[in-house]
Amino acid sequence: MSILEILFFALSAFAIVSAIMVLVSKNPIHSVLWLILVFFAISGHYILLNAQFLAIVNIIVYAGAIMVLFLFVIMLMNVQSDKEPQKKLLTKFIGVLSGGSLLILLIALVKQTTQLQGKQVLMKEGTIGLIHPLGKALFNDYVLPFEISSVLFLSAMVGAVIIGKK
């Protein structure tokens, strides 16, 4: 096994264990903290794929900003597992069923995609995750979608200001 493979499997195991801990933690604060670890593991995978820019942006945006807001809200609401009302058995069953179906659907999709069949991941190669190629691609090939998504952000911002003013 090369170092890359060892790192890949270690990071994957780390990501999966953390993701499971997000689900099984009784305390919502612990769930959020495990979720931050999941983001770190995913950033590690980005670095293995030579996408340093994506890796660091993933940490800044998801682990650094969005998760702080999650923590913020949970701390302010003071959610505690033992005081929360327990869900009915039927609701739990339906939740498991729908989640499981989604998982099967995703696996079937990945298995059937012809573009992914027989291909191997290029580690340490590829440049699209670096800042110069990514910037060029965004501002040359995908200018319109990029600008439209910024309009989406603007509308979200205006909405937040209006709700905040009420």
Binding site: M1, S2, I3, I6, I29, L33, I36, Q52, F53, I56, V57, I59, I60, A63, G64, A65, V68, L69, L71, F72, M75, L76, L130, I131
Partner: protein, 347 residues
């Protein structure tokens, strides 16, 4: 065994460098606490710590010994793991910044060419930004795990302050990055070395915004709302004792050193000594002069931080938020627009 296909010498070199830089940062932070008390004393016209050793020079050792020898108390109602994780995270996040700072140009030792930088990643500035955004977790987790209302209030204040000022900091940085065209701190410093203008000449307003936001991110007065004693008793570290409290206090000083190093590298030429031709002396000596220059710049910035702390009183919380959102962010946007227009006009 393909595992051994590593450049072990490179690994050893980096590990030694990490050890030196971490130990040096801790040592400087130790004496920064002493300097803080001395500067405060001078500004308030009193002698300051003077009993331990000549001029009180052993005072930081006495303080450290006191912190270590005190009893460790973990409150009964606290969340034990997170209570310990809080200060550890604060300390780790503040030390991690030093990885991308170029401490000097390269030296040659035993035939090896050693760059005086732990990692020259091409996204160095963003890495610093990511580490800064991690720093708030130490405070939030510690404040929440203490299970104390004052600590929680203070942790929430720290988080909202950090998020608000990160925005203005990022916008001020974008203007700088537009002029440098690179995110690597090494490249940014090299552009300023050797008779070229320092970036402060191109980005005076950007530097001012960055300096103010850096002060806010370090929780320094006048932005130390998270530890406003008169409203919150003591702040997010109220329940902490012994070296866990020491870690929180220390992390603040290390943050100050690291942000001084970042500011010196990005706006004030890093290890560049002005009016001095590095090529006129041997490369090793030039590199050492560079390290010394950067250290002097860091010390000057730290003094500036302290001078401000003991001169300006603390803001009110609404003033803090107003300054961040209504003054700094529009100013940073304006700075960005002007920089873009100038770059476009001179192309």
């Amino acid at each position: 065994m393909t595992i051994l296909a590593l450049d072990w010498a490179l690994l050893a070199e980096k590990l030694i460098m990490i050890a030196i830089i971490v130990l040096a940062s801790l040592g400087i932070a130790l004496y920064t606490t002493f300097a803080e008390r001395k500067v405060a004393a001078i500004l308030q016209d009193r002698p300051g710590p003077s009993r331990a050793g000549p001029f009180g020079l052993l005072q930081p050792l006495a303080d450290g010994l006191k912190l270590i020898m005190k009893e460790e108390i973990i409150p009964n109602a606290a969340n034990k793991w997170l209570f310990i994780l809080g200060p550890a995270l604060a300390m780790t996040a503040s030390l991690m910044t030093c990885a991308v700072i170029p401490w000097g140009s390269a030296i040659d030792v035993f035939g090896r060419h050693i760059e005086l930088q732990i990692a020259d990643v091409n996204i160095g500035v963003l890495y610093v930004f990511a580490v800064v955004s991690m720093g708030v977790y130490g405070i939030m987790i510690g404040g929440w795990a203490s299970n104390n209302k004052f600590s929680l209030m203070s942790a929430l204040r720290a988080a909202s302050q950090a998020i608000s000022y990160e925005l203005a900091m990022g916008l001020a940085l974008i203007a700088l990055l537009m002029t440098t065209g690179s995110l690597s701190l090494k490249t940014i410093v090299e552009q300023q070395v050797g008779g070229n203008w320092w970036n402060i000449v191109y980005q005076p307003l950007g530097f001012l915004i960055f300096f103010i936001t850096a002060m806010a991110e370090c929780n320094r007065t006048p932005f130390d709302l998270p530890e406003a004693e008169n409203e919150l008793n003591f702040g997010y570290h109220q329940e902490y004792s012994s070296m866990k409290l020491g870690f929180y206090l220390f992390a603040e000083y290390i943050n100050m050193i690291m942000s001084s190093a970042i500011m010196a590298s990005m706006y004030f030429g890093g290890y560049d000594l002005p009016f001095f031709n590095e090529a006129s002396v041997a490369p090793n000596i030039a590199a050492m002069i560079g390290v010394g220059t950067l250290l002097i710049k860091i010390v000057l910035f730290i003094f500036l931080f302290m001078w401000i702390r003991w001169t300006i009183p603390r803001f009110r919380y609404d003033q803090l938020m107003g300054l961040g959102w209504k003054t700094l962010i529009p100013l940073a946007l304006f700075n960005m627009l002007v920089t873009g227009a100038v770059i476009l006009a001179t192309q």
